[in-house]
């Protein structure tokens, strides 16, 4: 894989991002009403003051002009100011990105730690009772509504048993490791369930493909133990196709994060999105949507590159 290919992939993201920004900008700015609606009904805010606020945010300009201005400053790193809080969009997003990364990182860790063994077990006992129960479980995991699972966990562990706090990032005045762990456990479990279910299926089918290959038979013939064959020879190659799925699921995880953070009052960017929806905070919504799209595009590029570098049979220009 050449540096040129990496650069080409990165450059190909630019027209994609431009297309996305045009669509999102059009949706957000052509919608009826606007962020200043909350002032129009307020008799204390005069028409002149309203016009002044609109001018300050550039909302008095035609939409295409607004777009060009937005694009120009976006490229220069100025993502505008939140209408709700008055603070810079980018720094607000970065501030709220921390909790989301914590939650997403833990969910990713849980998913990998559970999906890989589950997939291996399923594949090596193919057709057994255990395999079919795991298949059923993964179907259920993909089909369960995230928000309902969240409610059920809250009901069981917070309302009935009282073991875990029902929502929030940390207790007031608290914040030591155990306190934060008790807050993050439920949202992380909810966020990881769907990915555990789908990844374990992919690892299972990857393993089954690999286990049927000649070099696996050779390894057995050399006298390697079952465990040695599965872990040393098969798993490495079975994980390669799974890399693609991790990238594809990134988009699902973003949707899941919006729901999870809302139900558990987790102060990440998913919740920031819902808060910004309430106030029609145009610059913030635009920034968050672009951030999410950028994440999805980067995840796909990384998956492609990883795929190419892990599998020596694949060569991209």
């Amino acid at each position: 894989m050449s540096l040129g290919y990496v650069l080409r992939r990165l450059l190909s993201a630019i027209p994609l991002l431009l297309g996305i920004s045009v669509i999102l900008f059009a949706i957000i700015h052509l919608a009826p009403g606007g962020p200043l609606d909350m002032y129009t009904e307020n008799p204390a805010v005069s028409k002149e003051a309203l016009a002044q606020i609109a001018a300050a945010y550039g909302l008095d300009q035609p939409v295409p002009v607004q777009y060009v201005l937005w694009l120009k400053s976006m490229v220069l790193g100025d993502w505008g100011y939140s209408i709700r809080t008055g603070r810079p969009v980018l720094s607000e997003i970065v501030l709220r990105l921390g909790p989301t990364l914590e939650l997403g990182g833990l969910a990713l860790l849980i998913s990998l730690l559970l999906a890989i063994p589950l997939g291996i077990i399923s594949a090596s006992r193919r057709g057994s009772k255990l395999d079919s129960s795991l298949t059923l479980a993964s179907f259920a995991g993909i089909s369960i509504p995230v928000f309902w699972l969240a409610l059920l966990l809250q009901l069981l562990f917070s309302v009935q048993l009282g073991w875990l706090p029902s929502a929030g990032y940390k207790s007031i005045g608290g914040g030591d490791f155990m306190d934060r762990l008790s807050h993050i456990v439920m949202p992380a479990a909810v966020l990881s369930l769907a990915t555990i279910a789908s990844w374990s299926r992919f690892i299972r089918s990857g393993m089954i493909d690999v286990l049927n290959q000649d070099y696996i038979r050779t390894a057995y013939a050399k006298g390697r133990s079952e465990r040695g064959v599965v872990i040393l020879h098969a798993l490495r190659n079975a994980l390669i196709p799974a890399v693609t799925v991790i990238a594809v699921d990134f988009a699902t995880v973003i949707s899941g994060a919006v729901i999870t953070e809302t139900v558990f009052a987790w102060p990440g960017i998913g919740r920031l999105f819902m808060e910004s929806m309430d106030g029609r905070d145009y610059p913030m919504l635009m920034g968050l949507m672009m951030m999410g799209s950028l994440g999805i595009i980067l995840a796909n590029i990384i998956a492609d590159l990883a795929y190419a570098s892990l599998d020596p049979r694949i060569r991209y220009g």
């Binding site: 027209p15 994609l16 297309g19 996305i20 669509i23 999102l24 949706i27 957000i28 919608a31 009826p32 009403g33 059923l136 179907f139 259920a140 993909i142 089909s143 369960i144 509504p145 995230v146 928000f147 309902w148 699972l149 409610l151 059920l152 809250q154 009901l155 309302v159 988009a251 973003i254 949707s255 919006v258 729901i259 809302t262 139900v263 999105f273 819902m274 929806m277 029609r280 919504l285 968050l288 949507m289 999410g292 799209s293 999805i296 595009i297 796909n300």
Partner: protein
Amino acid sequence: MADISAPAISARPPQSYGRRVVKRFLRHRGAVFGLVFLLLLALTVILGPFFSPYTYDGQDFMLIGSPGPMTAQHWLGTDELGRDMMTRLMHGGRVSLAVGLAGAIIATIAGTLVGALSGFYRGWTDTILMRATDVMLSIPTLPLVLLLSGLFRPSPPLLVAIVGMLIWMGTARLVRSQFLALREREFVEAARALGAGGARLMFRHILPNAIGPITVSATLAVGSAIMLESALSFLGFGIQPPVPTWGNLLNSASSWLSVAPWLAIPPGLLILFTVLAVNFLGDGLRDAMEPRE
């Protein structure tokens, strides 16, 4: 049917494609369960409300204030406004199933059209349509629906159209790859030699050969549409009360979770079982219609 029972040369007459599909489908237990469940569910939510003594927005003024427990009159309890939950669930089921079906139909038509044009004409048509597909795939779906729904406040039919227009991309890529492969086959060349034009080649000759994968992805789209609408309604941006959907029933139940947990169980269970049944059905159809051998 006496004429068919003429002495057979081979012991087993060759089965038609449809026959084989049905046979393979019936071997998939999960898919059969799924189909039966969906049919029973559809029957219940369509006919059920006619047998219910309550309407979905009818209030029992004696029960207003807080959710009522499960009783002989109200099997699944009442909500805080004194409305019968069982009746509301059945009406919600009508909405959810209708959204799922209509959303999937829209997504399948859009996806098939994009994929067919892309795979058949290739060249710049393909480039433009696939870049558009990439763009749609790169915007996170749920936030985008939230944005559209929150800013435009669409009517329920328009909302369904929006849901459908956000989940067509998988179908488009699938149909494109089918068309790319099928357009090179001899029967297409033969039809072209006989003077068939683009539209006729695409929809009369190629499309019927891709019907298996399209059916599977249409089935799975029903599940995605139901899930997406439920999430939207749960977050308060979908179909608005007093019209019940499983999602907004869960939304209102969530504020009474500690007092009336029985309200939060049935809507979620119904979403889970419905989506599960749809996914099993899709899996069974895949096994039946596109055997890997």
